[in-house]
Symmetry: C2
C-alpha cells in the first residue's frame, strides 16, 4: 500500500514507520448499531464505508495523508457472515482507494454490532492544520454542499424508502483528503475541521479552540439539493471541510474538483453566548444556537 | 507525560511525535461487558485497569515503550456516572504509572459497556521483538507464575466470592514493560509474545509465525498458588511474557524484579499437528492440545 506499515496483522502490535520528518496523526471513531446506523436502512457495505470515512475525514481535517487503519469489531452471535463480509467489503474498498492498510484489530462478541475504527496518518512536522489557529478577519470556507446526509436521514426517519446509491453522501460519504492535502501544501488555512456534527457545532469548536467568534451569511451557505438551510447549518455527517483563511489570501473556486464557498468571517471573541452569529435574508443578525444532528434524530 | 503527544484531546486527530530513529507500535483491544468482565465480579476500577493493561502488555511483548492511549467507550444510558468515574480512575492510575497519556477517544451510547483501547508505543527502528524470530535450539522462557488469573476466574465461575485486591493478577494484572524493555535492550530474545490466551495458544502463535515446533517440560512450568498445571498451560489473561533465547545466551534468574523460568525448547517444524509437545512427569511426550481460557469459561 503506502509502505508505512512494516508489520501488520499477526503480531502483538503493528509497526508503523512514518516518513522521516513527519509526525503521526491518530483518530478513533466508534460506530454502534441503532445509534450510528440501522441494519434495515444501511447496507453492510455502506456501514463499513461510513465507519472508515469518519476516520479518514478526521485525517483530511488536519491536512494529513492516511497510512493505516485498525478495526475492533463487536459482533452478535447470530449475525449472518454475509453481513460481516459486506461490511468488510465496503470498508476495504474505501481503504484501497486511499491506499490505507488494515493493519490490526480485535474481535469480540457483543449484543449489538460495534465497530471502533482507528485511522493513523502522517503530516510533515509542524504543518498539521489545527482547530486553534483562526484569526480575526479570516474568511470562513466550506467544501461541497451541506445538509445532504441529514436530508436523507430525515426521509428515512419519516419512513420513506431510499435507495442507498453509491453517489449518496449519506450512505457513501467521501472524505475530502485531496482537498485537505492541497490546503496544507499551499498553506491556505489558519484553522480547519471536518463537518461531522453540523456547522453550528463544528464552527463552534473552531471558535472555542481559537478564542474567536464568527459570523455567517445565511444566503451564502451552500445547500444540498435534498436539504434546506436548517439542515445545512445543523445537520451532521456531511464530512465536508470547514476552514478559515487570512483575509488577503486568494482561494480557488474549486479544489481537487470540489466546490469551495466563502460563508462568513472570523471576529474577535465578544462573549460566549454570541460565539456564532448569522446574517439572515432579512438583514438581521441573530445568534446561531448550537444544535447538532441529534436535534433531528433524538440520537447521539 | 513522555513528551510524545504534541496535540491530545480537542482536535480532529491527536498528533504524536515518536523520537527520531524510532518506529511506532499500535495495538487495539476490545473489552465488552459480560464477555471480558462482569459488573458483579469486577469493580469499575479493575475493568479500567484491565483494559489498559491488555494494550500495555502488547507493547511490552514487542520490547516497546508506551506513549499514548486512545479510549472509545460505549455506555448504556442507565449506567451510573460513578461506574464511569471508577473505570477512568483505574485506567488513568495505570496510565500515570507508565507515563502513558490519554490522547483521544470517542463516546457513544451502547446496550452494554464496550471499551476499545488503543495503545501506541515506540521502539528504535528494527529492534521490535516479533513472534516470527524463534530458531531451532532456542530455550523458551516465561516471566512470573502462570494460571493465577484463570484460577481466580474458576472460583468466580463456581460462585465463590473473591475480594478484588490490588495484588491479584486477575483483577489488576501488571504489564511486564520493564522486562520487555530489558530483553530488547540486551538483545536477549529471538521472539516474544505476551500470554493473553494461555501458553497452549500463545506459544503456538510463536511456532506458526516462526515455522517452528516446541517442546515443554511440564514440571518446569511455574504455577501460580491458586492454579494447577492445566490452568497454567491453558488459562489466559496472565499477561506474562513468553520469549525464546538462543541456546548459549545467559538469561538472568530475575529481570526487573520478576522471576524468569526456562520451560522448554524450540525445534524444527515436523508437522502441524504436533507443533507443541509436552514432556510429562511420567517421562512420556504427548501433543499439547490448543485450548485457550475459553475452554474454562465458554466465553471468547
Amino acid at each position: 500500500m503506502n509502505g508505512a506499515v512494516k508489520t501488520g496483522i499477526g503480531d502483538d502490535c503493528a509497526i508503523l514507520r512514518p516518513k522521516s520528518g513527519f509526525e503521526l496523526l491518530v483518530t478513533t471513531d466508534l460506530c454502534v448499531e441503532n445509534v450510528h446506523f440501522r441494519r434495515a436502512w444501511h447496507p453492510a457495505a455502506a456501514v463499513g464505508h461510513r465507519c472508515l470515512a469518519r476516520g479518514l475525514s478526521d485525517i483530511a481535517a488536519m491536512g494529513g495523508e492516511p497510512l493505516a487503519c485498525f478495526l475492533s469489531l463487536g459482533l452478535p452471535a447470530d449475525l449472518p457472515q454475509a453481513w460481516v463480509n459486506g461490511f468488510l467489503r465496503g470498508l476495504l474498498a474505501l481503504a484501497q482507494r486511499y491506499r490505507v492498510q488494515l493493519a490490526g484489530g480485535d474481535v469480540s462478541s457483543a449484543p449489538q454490532i460495534t465497530a471502533d475504527i482507528v485511522v493513523t496518518g502522517q503530516v510533515p512536522i509542524g504543518t498539521a492544520i489545527l482547530r486553534s489557529g483562526a484569526s480575526p478577519g479570516d474568511r470562513i470556507y466550506v467544501t461541497g454542499a451541506l445538509g445532504g446526509s441529514a436530508g436523507t436521514l430525515k426521509h428515512l426517519l419519516a419512513g420513506n424508502a431510499i435507495k442507498p446509491t453509491k453517489s449518496s453522501p449519506h450512505f457513501y460519504p467521501i472524505p475530502r483528503l485531496e482537498v485537505g492535502d492541497f490546503i496544507r501544501k499551499h498553506r491556505l488555512a489558519n484553522a480547519m475541521i471536518d463537518i461531522s456534527d453540523g456547522i453550528s457545532v463544528d464552527l463552534r469548536h473552531i471558535c472555542e479552540e481559537s478564542g474567536m467568534s464568527a459570523i455567517l451569511v445565511s444566503n451564502k451557505v451552500p445547500i444540498a439539493k435534498n436539504a434546506d438551510l436548517e439542515l445545512a447549518l445543523h445537520g451532521g455527517e456531511d464530512y465536508e471541510l470547514l476552514f478559515t483563511v487570512p483575509k488577503r489570501t486568494k482561494v480557488p473556486a474549486r479544489i481537487a474538483g470540489v466546490t469551495v464557498t466563502e460563508i462568513g468571517e472570523i471576529g474577535y471573541r465578544q462573549d460566549y453566548s454570541s460565539a456564532i452569529q448569522i446574517l439572515g435574508d432579512n438583514g438581521k443578525v441573530t445568534s446561531l444556537p448550537q444544535r447538532g444532528w441529534e436535534h433531528f434524530t433524538g440520537q447521539r
